[in-house]
């Protein structure tokens, strides 16, 4: 059974114009459709990569899975049990199983807490173990992320380097013994030379401690290094999913093709083909029905503008793209 299952999940926000413009200018209420009709499963012991540009809904998806933002429609199931409608104490309890690692290690640690207290905060808040048990577990996990507890316990975040802070962030998520860890761009603020170390750490810990991981990034090169499966999102819609190597080496959806084609390659001999897509990414405000990539897509036709083809999640290893016109796309096009 899948660990997590998202069934037709939406998250829409209302942008209400002020009273004056509503009455005088008749500005209607508009909707930001941050995530729309998302179907997704997360299997046990896998690393699922979510790729996409800003505004594609990847962070919103994370917040929904972590129970920090409820979906506005659809259902989220955790081990077969519905969790999107949990409230209060039950929600707080549920959050223990899904922990997040945040993007900015300079922002995600409370500047007034010492390392020990940062890591111990979750278990203390949930009263998971008696204080002494918390102490030994914190020491264990700090050691596991490569920070010697005796040396780091009493330090404040501002006394640590970016890499050390991110390790503290990882420790404070893992000390909760979660079954799912969501990492939202955890490397983007770190230097190139230490990124690989954090990736290795995360991968190693995932195997050792048996948690599934959702790894979100706009950087496909990094995802290519950690994920088992890859989901590509565009403006709130899931456009392609499949085993990592298949998606990266043989992308199907025109958007995925363009995205992968645009990733810079550390090879001065490489000459990149010119992508065939046009225009800029829009904001998901009152989007028309159908595929949201259609306005930029060279293959789009009337059917694309009418209906959006969702993904089918019954077989996680099935490589598929949400596109009406897959047959029309030939391999020499990008």
């Amino acid at each position: 059974m899948a660990l997590f299952e998202l069934k037709n999940v939406n998250r829409h926000f209302e942008i209400r114009p002020g009273l004056v413009s509503r009455v005088l200018h008749r500005h209607p209420t508009r909707w930001i459709k941050a995530v729309e009709a998302l179907n997704l499963t997360l299997e046990e012991d896998e690393v699922l990569g979510i790729a996409g540009e800003s505004g594609c809904g990847k962070s919103t998806t994370c917040m929904m899975i972590a129970g920090l933002a409820p979906p506005t429609a659809g259902e989220i199931h955790y081990r077969g049990k519905r969790v999107d409608n949990l409230e209060g104490e039950a929600l707080r309890r549920h959050r223990r199983h899904v922990q997040m690692i945040f993007q900015d290690p300079y922002e995600s640690l409370n500047p007034r807490f010492r390392v020990f207290d940062i890591v111990a905060e979750g278990p203390r808040a949930m009263a998971l173990w008696p204080e002494r048990g918390i102490g030994t577990r914190v020491a264990d996990i700090l050691f596991a992320v490569g920070l010697e507890p005796g040396k780091y316990n009493a330090r404040f975040p501002h006394e640590l380097s970016g890499g050390e802070r991110q390790r503290v962030g990882i420790a404070s998520a893992l000390v909760m013994e979660p079954e799912t860890v969501i990492a939202d761009e955890p490397l983007s603020m770190l230097d190139v030379s230490i990124r690989a170390g954090i990736l290795d750490l995360l991968r190693g810990l995932a195997q050792e401690r048996h948690f599934s991981c959702i790894y979100v990034s706009h950087d496909l090169s990094i995802l290519g290094n950690i994920a088992d499966r890859l989901l590509v999102m565009y403006l709130g819609q899931a456009v392609e999913i499949g085993p990592l190597k298949q998606v990266i080496r043989a992308p199907k959806h025109p958007y995925t093709r363009a995205l992968i084609g645009a990733v810079p390659v550390p090879d001065p001999r490489y000459r990149r083909p010119i992508p065939r897509i046009s225009g800029d990414i829009a904001r998901p405000i009152d989007p028309p029905p159908g595929c949201r990539f259609a306005p930029r897509c060279p293959y789009a036709d009337a059917s694309c503008r009418k209906t959006f083809l969702g993904l089918d999640t019954s077989d996680p290893l099935h490589h598929q793209a949400a596109c009406h016109r897959l047959e029309q796309i030939t391999d020499d096009d990008i």
Binding site: S54, A196, S221, I248, V263, P266, I281
Partner: protein, 340 residues
Amino acid sequence: MTTKAVLEVRDLNVRYNTSAGPIHAVSEVSFDVFGDEVFGIAGESGCGKSTLIRALLRLLSPNGICESAVISFKGHDLRTMPDREFRKDILWREISLVPQSAMNSLNPVYRVGAQIVEAIRAHRRCTRATARERVAELFDVVGLQADLMDSYPHEFSGGMRQRAMIAMALALDPALIIMDEPTTGLDVLVQERILRRIRKIRDAIASSIILITHDIAVIAEMCDRIAVMYGGRFMEQARSLDLFESPHHPYTLGLKNAFPSIHAVGAELISIPGFPPGLIGPQTSCPFEPRCPFRIERCATETPQPVTITEQHEIRCFRSAEAESLRELAKSKATWHCSN
């Protein structure tokens, strides 16, 4: 590529005086930028790449002190030029800057076009109408529609703002454009488009470009020559093909290992253990020594001087002669992570 250097820098040092002691942010940096080339400076945060640019443009904070043997731009000695003259005749006119986080460098209360018109008129005597025509032309060069001139910055996306900043930098046909992380923080597709624009501009306009970034892939795709900076020094400097095909410096080798490529899905990445140096106090060793798996005794007591390997390929390493074998060793993870 012409052989005449547009910019010639020799032995540039920058130190910041702080209460904790002097910080040697840039040490003994020498390089040339030739006509029509893109010169890349690659380095991680705190390596001194931004300080180097600030020193060249005289934008250092008051506690920053810059000393150098030569800074010569098109034959003018920039070291002795008075500030007033430098601001009037060199800055923007001859050397322009696309600043880091250029996206936030536009004033939100003025229209984008008007800001560029002002910048042009501040340096060149012309009517508003001529300046506007020039802006329309520039917008075309950077791939923005001319009618966007009368929009406000908040109506632009990040990529559009970035292109507007590049347009502003091009306004006075400078001989040298310095771009500090021009695509950091932009989405992949937007980044690709801007980089393609920059290449086109380079071909269309006879300007040289200094491109500063931490992104090795961007530098590989864009630059003719590359300098790898670490701890305030240029550790390795070479033509880009040479640098990627026969890297010599251990730090360059480490960076290559650590950087993922989408063409090598699942390849093992190796991080460089340790942290960048603090640079406080006198610098008497190789800055990479504490993290280098190939260090020898000498590295801790002496700073290596540049050694020329082939034409235009220089490195600062005592073991430059053994590069071949070090390169082989550096491919193994054990080299980096077990010897320490």
